[in-house]
Symmetry: none
DNA sequence: ACTTGAATCATCCTTTCGGGTGAAGGATTA
DNA sequence: TAATCCTTCACCCGAAAGGATGATTCAAGT
């Protein structure tokens, strides 16, 4: 971080110095203002891209949270909205009773949904359902 | 993407135009070359940072495929090798009995390990353990 | 030699899961 | 209207999971 800023400042200083040297050695009148501007603009734009990536890399790499539900997969497996809802809550680590409380239905209902879900996902346990659900793009 | 590039080019053109206007209106001799360079460098560096983030955001966001075990977290929570092993197998959707068979130990042993694991992770269920394990970087 | 921690296994007990089955009420569709 | 699907709930039963506690073995340090 600090090293990046220091390098950035040094680059700017070096750039100005080099241009000054060129100016005195080869007669500045041959080089137009536009040339300088374009040169500096290009170089520093590139430098900006590089510095920006360095500075924001860690933040960006930790995001990676774009989940897109595969609805065609839900249809293919015949999983209903309610069953998918139960799957999400199972994946979040809730017990059947907690899921029942959250959905305002009875424990039996949740058990029915989860049982049907396991049949459709062809799994035997909720942990497997979570795994398979993630593989199939049904949950994040 | 295209819009970004167009904006970028327009910004450059506008910048040069504005500077030219300033030059003709207020006599360029009062403004040093260094001033122009610093101004342009700063502006385009910032522009570069912005453009860089725009252009590389989606690429970077798709990385996130390499898992690195956070061993310091294991130590901090006092999770032993065997417990971590059990956690991995739990996360893969196996039952305690299947874990016992795979590790060539008794069911009771697996239950002991998982119980201790849940205490250290401060969870009540295996599904929660999987969730928390992923959050803490203990499992992929 | 003594302590400590990990790994192993046990027993007892309660809670949670999951399978099987049936059934009633609503919405959609043939 | 009849057929079908979704949602809801119930009861029974066996399997799995989890809590509490204690014990043994073994290796690593102190």
């Amino acid at each position: 971080m600090n090293r990046t800023i220091i390098l950035y400042g040094l680059s700017l200083a070096a750039m100005v110095t080099i241009l000054k040297l060129i100016e005195y050695k080869y007669f500045v009148r041959q080089l137009s203002l536009e040339f300088y501007l374009a040169l500096v603009a290009t170089l520093f734009a590139g430098l900006g891209v590089w510095a920006g990536k360095k500075l924001t890399y860690k933040k960006v790499i930790r995001v990676s949270g774009d989940f897109k539900l595969d609805e065609s997969m839900l249809e293919r497996l015949g999983i209903s909205r309610r069953e998918h809802e139960v799957l999400e809550l199972i994946a979040s680590g809730l017990s059947n009773q907690e899921i029942a409380d959250r959905l305002f239905v009875s424990l039996n209902t949740v058990k029915t949904h989860s049982s049907n879900l396991f049949l459709k996902l062809d799994v035997k346990r909720r942990t497997q359902a979570v795994q398979k659900g993630k593989e199939l793009g049904l949950i994040p």
